[in-house]
C-alpha cells in the first residue's frame, strides 16, 4: 500500500486530532487544533496541485486564514477573558479518551472500506478513514468534556471531519459552497464565543453538564 502525499497528510491531521483528546489544558488543545487544521489546509492545497483545480488553492488559503489563524486566536482571547485554563473533571480521563480515539481510527478504517467510492478511480479509503476518525474524535471531545470551550473545539473538529471527507472524496465542491461553509463556521464560533461570556456572567461557570434546562 503506497501512501499518496495527500493521504499521508490526512492521516496526520487525524492523528493530530486524536492528540487534542490527550490533554485537558485548553491552550494545548487549541495548539493541536491549529496544527490539525494546518494539515487539512495542506491536504486541500495538495489536492489542488494534483487535480489542477485552481479554486482549491483559494479555499486552502481561506482555511488557513480563518481556521488556523483567526479562530484559535479568537478562542485564546475568549479563554483569557472568561479565565478558564483547563477542562477539569472530564467524564472520561484524557488518556483513556485518547486511546478511545485511536480505537475509533481503527473502526473508521474498517467502516471506510465498506463505503463505495464517490468519484470513480479517485476515491481514497485512507482519506475517508481520516475524515471519519476526525468526525468521531470531535464527537468524543464534545461528549466527554464539560467546559463550553471544549464543546466549541469539538464542534470545529467535527466540521473539519466533514470538510475533509468532502475534499478527499469529491475533490472539492464549488468555490462558493466552500467559502459559504467557512464563513458559517466563523460566524458560529464568534456567536458561541459571545454566548460563553454570557454563560460565564450568568452562572459563574462554563460547565455545560449543569445546563440541563433544555427540555419542555
Amino acid at each position: 500500500m503506497t501512501l499518496d502525499t495527500f493521504e499521508a497528510l490526512s492521516v496526520l491531521s487525524a492523528i493530530l486530532g486524536i492528540l487534542i483528546l490527550g490533554t485537558t489544558l485548553l491552550r494545548t488543545n487549541l495548539s493541536f487544533y491549529r496544527m490539525h487544521t494546518l494539515a487539512i489546509a495542506a491536504v486541500t492545497a495538495w489536492i489542488a496541485h494534483i487535480t489542477k483545480e485552481d479554486h482549491l488553492y483559494v479555499v486552502a488559503l481561506g482555511v488557513f486564514l480563518i481556521k488556523v489563524i483567526f479562530i484559535p486566536n479568537f478562542l485564546n482571547w475568549v479563554m483569557k477573558k472568561v479565565d478558564v485554563g483547563s477542562d477539569k473533571q472530564a467524564f472520561i480521563a484524557a488518556p483513556l479518551s485518547m486511546h478511545l480515539g485511536a480505537l475509533m481510527l481503527g473502526l473508521s478504517f474498517l467502516l471506510s472500506k465498506q463505503i463505495p467510492g464517490l468519484v470513480g478511480g479517485h476515491d481514497s479509503h485512507l482519506g475517508s478513514t481520516a475524515a471519519m476518525s476526525i468526525l468521531f474524535t470531535g464527537v468524543l471531545l464534545m461528549l466527554t468534556r464539560r467546559a463550553a470551550l471544549s464543546q466549541i473545539v469539538g464542534f470545529l473538529v467535527i466540521e473539519n471531519g466533514i470538510y475533509l471527507f468532502a475534499v478527499t472524496q469529491t475533490h472539492g465542491m464549488p468555490m462558493l459552497v466552500e467559502m459559504g461553509l467557512l464563513l458559517e463556521v466563523l460566524v458560529g464560533v464568534m456567536i458561541s464565543g459571545l454566548l460563553l461570556f454570557n454563560i460565564k456572567k450568568s452562572f459563574e461557570h462554563i460547565d455545560v453538564s449543569q445546563l440541563t434546562e433544555l427540555k419542555d
Binding site: L111, I115, M132, L135, V139, M142, L143, S209, T212, L214
Partner: protein, 680 residues
C-alpha cells in the same frame, strides 16, 4: 299555445337557449354561485361590508336550484367535461362527468341544500357577531361546492382535492359555536375520521393507479384479484366516512354539535358521498371478491343493530338521530354487499333489485334524515335543549314541527305510503330472492338470516322513533324550557320541513314512477336493461289516494257534523285531576326494557339505592342512577389512546435536557446510519 306565446314573447324567445344549456354549465354555475358567496364573506370580513342574511340565503338557494335543474337536465344526457388549463392538480387535470349515476346524488344535494338554505335564517339570527355569520356562510358554501364537485369528479386526484375541501369545511362548520368544549371535541373527532378516510382513499387510489396506469375512475376494474387490497381500503375509508361500526363514534358528537342547517346537510348528503364512491368504483368497477363482500355484510349488519340499539337508549334528540344514521348507513351497505354477492353468483335480478334498493334508500335517507335534523333543530331553537328528559308536550306548541317530524319518523320506520317503505321493501325483496335463488347454501342461509336481522332492526327503529316522538312531542312539558309560547305560523324552518315532508310522501306514494326514474342509473351499474319500476308492483299511490278519499269522506260525512261537540282540554290525565309532569314516563324508562335485554352490548348499569328503616314499604329516599358506557369507546378506542399516551410519556424521558446525552443520541444515530448505509 299561441296565446301563451303572445303573453310571453320573451320566454318563447328564450326557450331554444334554455334547451341549449348543458348540465355542465348549470353545475359550474352552481359551483360559481356558492364559491362567490364564500369569497363575498371574505371580502366582508376584510371590509366594512355587512352581508344581509337574505342575500346569502338567496345565493344559497340560487346554487341549489341550479344544481337541481342541472341534475334534471343531465338525466337524459351523459356529459364529460374538463378544464385542461387552470384547475390542474399536477398529476391530473380537473375532469368531470355527469351521468345517470351522479343524477340521484346531485339531485339529493340540490334538494337538501335548498331545504337547508330555507332554514338558514332561523339559525343565523341567533349568531351575535358579523364574523360568526360570515364563518357559517363561508363554510356552508365551501362545503356545498365541495360536495358537488366530489359527485362530479371523474378522476381520483380531483376527487381527493374536493373531498378535502368538503371534509375540512364540514369539520370547521361543526365548530361554528367554537367556544363550547363539546363542539371542539366533536370537530376534532370529525377531523380524525376524515383524515383516516382520506388516507385509506389515497392508498387505494395509488394502488389502482399502479394497476391501471390511470387516475381516471372509468379505467379502474376491481374484478382483478390484484385490486383486492385497494377494494378493501376503499371500503374501509367509505365506511369511516359513512359512519359504520366501529368507526361511528364521531358521528353522534359531530351531528349533535353542528348547527341545524349544517347538520341536515352533513347527515343528509355528506355521508352519502361515501356510498356514491362505493357505487361508482366497486359496483361500476365490477367488484365481486368475497372478502370485500363478507366484510361489508358483517360491518353493515353490526352497524344496523348497534346503531338502532344506541339510538333507542339515547337521551339527546340529535344524538338519537345520528345513531339512527349509523343504522341506515349499515342498511345501505348491507344492500351494497348483497349487490356484489349477487354479481358474484351471476344473479342479475337480485343484483338489480339490491342496487336499486341502495340508490333509492340512500336518496330517501338523505331526504328524511335531513327532515328529522331540521325538526330537531326547530325543537332546539324553541326550547334551547335537546335533552329528551326536558322536553314534552311540544305537539300543541309546535304543530308544524310535529307534523314534519312525524312524517320523517314514519318514513324512517318504513311505514307504507312513505318513501322509506319503498326502499326498505326493495332491500327485503332482494334478500328474499337470494334466499330462494340458485346460490350456495351458505349465502342463502345468510340472506335468510339477514331478513330476520332487518326485521329486528326495523322493529327497534319503530320503538326508537315512538320514543322520540312520544317523549318530545306528546304528554306534558317536563321542564320550564318546554313551556314556551306556541310557534307562530309557518316560518322558514317549518317551510323547509314541509318541503322535505312533501317530497317524502310524494316519493312514497309514487314509488313505482320514481323507481322507473332510476332505471338509467341501474342500467349503468349492472350493464343490463331493466325497468326498475317493475320491481315495485304495489299500488301504493292508488291505495293511498283511495285512503285519502275515504278518510276525507268519513270525516266530512260522519265526523264533520259533530265537530262542535269536540272541546279542547288539557292533556288527558285519566281523571285524576292535575298530575305533575314527573308522573310521566321518561325516555329512559321507555327504552329500559330493551336496554336491559341488551345490557351486555350497551354496558347499561342501573344502580338503585333505597334508604329508610323498612326499605321495602316505607322508603325515605330512592336514588336511581343509570350509567351507560359505550363499549367501543371505553374498551377499544380508550385503550388505544391510553397506550399512545403512555408511549408518549415514556418517550419524553429520553429528552433529559443534558447536552451530552443529546449529543450521544446524535452520535449513536450517526453510527447506526453509517452501518445501515454500508451494509444495505
Amino acid at each position: 299555445m299561441a296565446g301563451k306565446v303572445k303573453i310571453f314573447p320573451f320566454v318563447s324567445f328564450m326557450i331554444p337557449y334554455i334547451e341549449a344549456i348543458t348540465p355542465s354549465s348549470l353545475f359550474i354555475t352552481a359551483c360559481v354561485i356558492w364559491s362567490s358567496g364564500a369569497v363575498l364573506t371574505v371580502v366582508s370580513d376584510l371590509t366594512k361590508l355587512r352581508l344581509e342574511d337574505r342575500w346569502m340565503t338567496g345565493l344559497s338557494i340560487a346554487g341549489s336550484l341550479a344544481t337541481i335543474i342541472g341534475s334534471i337536465k343531465s338525466y337524459t344526457q351523459t356529459q364529460a367535461f374538463g378544464f385542461s388549463g387552470f384547475p390542474n392538480f399536477g398529476l391530473a387535470p380537473l375532469t368531470c362527468l355527469t351521468d345517470s349515476l351522479s343524477v340521484p346524488f346531485t339531485l339529493l344535494l340540490g334538494l337538501v341544500s335548498l331545504a337547508a338554505a330555507l332554514a338558514t335564517p332561523s339559525f343565523t339570527h341567533t349568531l351575535a357577531t358579523k364574523s360568526q355569520h360570515n364563518h357559517f356562510f363561508r363554510l356552508t358554501f365551501l362545503m356545498l361546492s365541495g360536495i358537488l364537485m366530489v359527485l362530479l369528479s371523474a378522476n381520483a386526484i380531483a376527487f381527493l382535492v374536493f373531498w378535502e375541501v368538503m371534509s375540512v369545511a364540514a369539520a370547521s362548520l361543526i365548530t361554528t359555536d367554537h367556544i363550547r368544549h363539546r363542539a371542539q371535541r366533536a370537530a376534532i373527532s370529525y377531523m380524525t375520521a376524515s383524515r383516516i378516510a382520506t388516507a385509506l382513499f389515497t392508498a387505494a387510489f395509488l394502488w389502482m393507479q399502479h394497476l391501471s396506469g390511470s387516475f381516471d375512475f372509468s379505467a379502474w376494474h376491481f374484478n382483478d384479484p390484484r385490486a383486492l387490497p385497494a377494494a378493501i381500503m376503499l371500503f374501509l375509508g367509505a365506511a369511516t366516512k359513512a359512519g359504520l361500526w366501529p368507526m361511528h363514534v364521531y358521528l353522534p358528537q359531530s351531528y349533535a354539535e353542528a348547527p341545524g342547517p349544517a347538520a341536515a346537510i352533513l347527515s343528509g348528503v355528506v355521508g352519502k358521498t361515501a356510498i356514491y364512491l362505493l357505487l361508482r368504483l366497486l359496483i361500476q368497477g365490477n367488484c365481486e371478491s368475497l372478502p370485500v363482500i363478507y366484510l361489508a355484510l358483517a360491518l353493515g349488519t353490526v352497524s344496523c343493530v348497534w346503531g338502532v340499539l344506541f339510538a333507542l337508549v339515547e337521551r339527546d334528540l340529535k344524538r338519537l338521530l345520528a345513531f339512527s344514521s349509523v343504522e341506515n348507513m349499515g342498511l345501505i351497505v348491507v344492500a351494497l354487499a348483497l349487490t356484489m354477492l349477487a354479481r358474484h353468483h351471476g344473479l342479475d335480478m337480485v343484483m338489480a333489485i339490491a342496487v336499486t334498493g341502495v340508490l333509492f334508500h340512500a336518496f330517501n335517507h338523505g331526504l328524511f334524515k335531513s327532515l328529522l335534523m331540521l325538526g330537531a333543530a326547530s325543537v332546539e331553537r324553541a326550547t334551547h335543549t335537546r335533552e329528551l328528559s326536558q322536553l314534552g308536550g311540544l305537539a300543541k306548541r309546535m304543530p308544524w314541527t310535529m307534523l314534519g317530524f312525524f312524517v320523517g319518523a314514519m318514513s324512517i320506520c318504513a311505514m307504507p305510503a312513505t318513501n322509506g317503505f319503498a326502499s326498505k321493501w326493495l332491500i327485503y325483496q332482494a334478500f328474499f330472492r337470494l334466499a330462494c335463488d340458485e346460490a350456495p347454501l351458505f349465502d342463502r342461509a345468510i340472506a335468510l338470516a339477514m331478513v330476520g336481522v332487518l326485521a329486528f332492526v326495523g322493529a327497534l327503529a319503530l320503538a326508537c322513533y315512538a320514543k322520540a316522538i312520544g317523549i318530545a312531542f306528546l304528554g306534558r312539558p317536563r321542564s320550564r324550557q318546554a313551556q314556551m309560547p306556541p310557534e307562530s305560523g309557518i316560518d322558514n324552518l317549518a317551510a323547509a320541513q314541509i318541503l322535505l315532508s312533501c317530497l317524502c310522501i310524494l316519493l312514497g306514494t309514487s314509488a313505482g314512477i320514481s323507481l322507473s326514474a332510476l332505471s338509467p342509473a341501474l342500467n349503468l351499474l349492472t350493464q343490463c336493461s331493466n325497468d326498475t319500476g317493475s320491481f315495485f308492483p304495489l299500488a301504493i299511490g292508488q291505495l293511498s289516494l283511495i285512503g285519502v278519499f275515504l278518510t276525507s269522506a268519513i270525516y266530512l260525512i260522519i265526523l264533520g257534523p259533530k265537530t262542535k261537540d269536540i272541546r279542547t282540554y288539557i292533556t288527558w290525565d285519566c281523571g285524576y285531576g292535575p298530575l305533575s309532569a314527573r308522573a310521566e314516563e321518561t325516555g329512559s324508562s321507555f327504552s329500559h326494557p330493551i336496554g336491559r335485554i341488551f345490557s351486555q352490548i350497551l354496558q347499561l348499569n342501573v344502580e338503585t339505592e333505597i334508604q329508610g328503616k323498612d326499605r321495602r314499604h316505607f322508603p325515605e329516599a330512592i336514588r336511581v342512577e343509570t350509567k351507560m358506557s359505550p363499549f367501543i369507546e371505553t374498551k377499544a378506542y380508550r385503550r388505544f389512546l391510553d397506550v399512545v399516551n403512555w408511549l408518549s410519556l415514556t418517550l419524553t424521558r429520553l429528552q433529559t435536557g443534558s447536552i451530552h446525552v443529546h449529543l450521544l443520541y446524535l452520535f449513536l444515530t450517526m453510527i447506526v446510519l453509517v452501518l445501515l448505509g454500508t451494509t444495505l
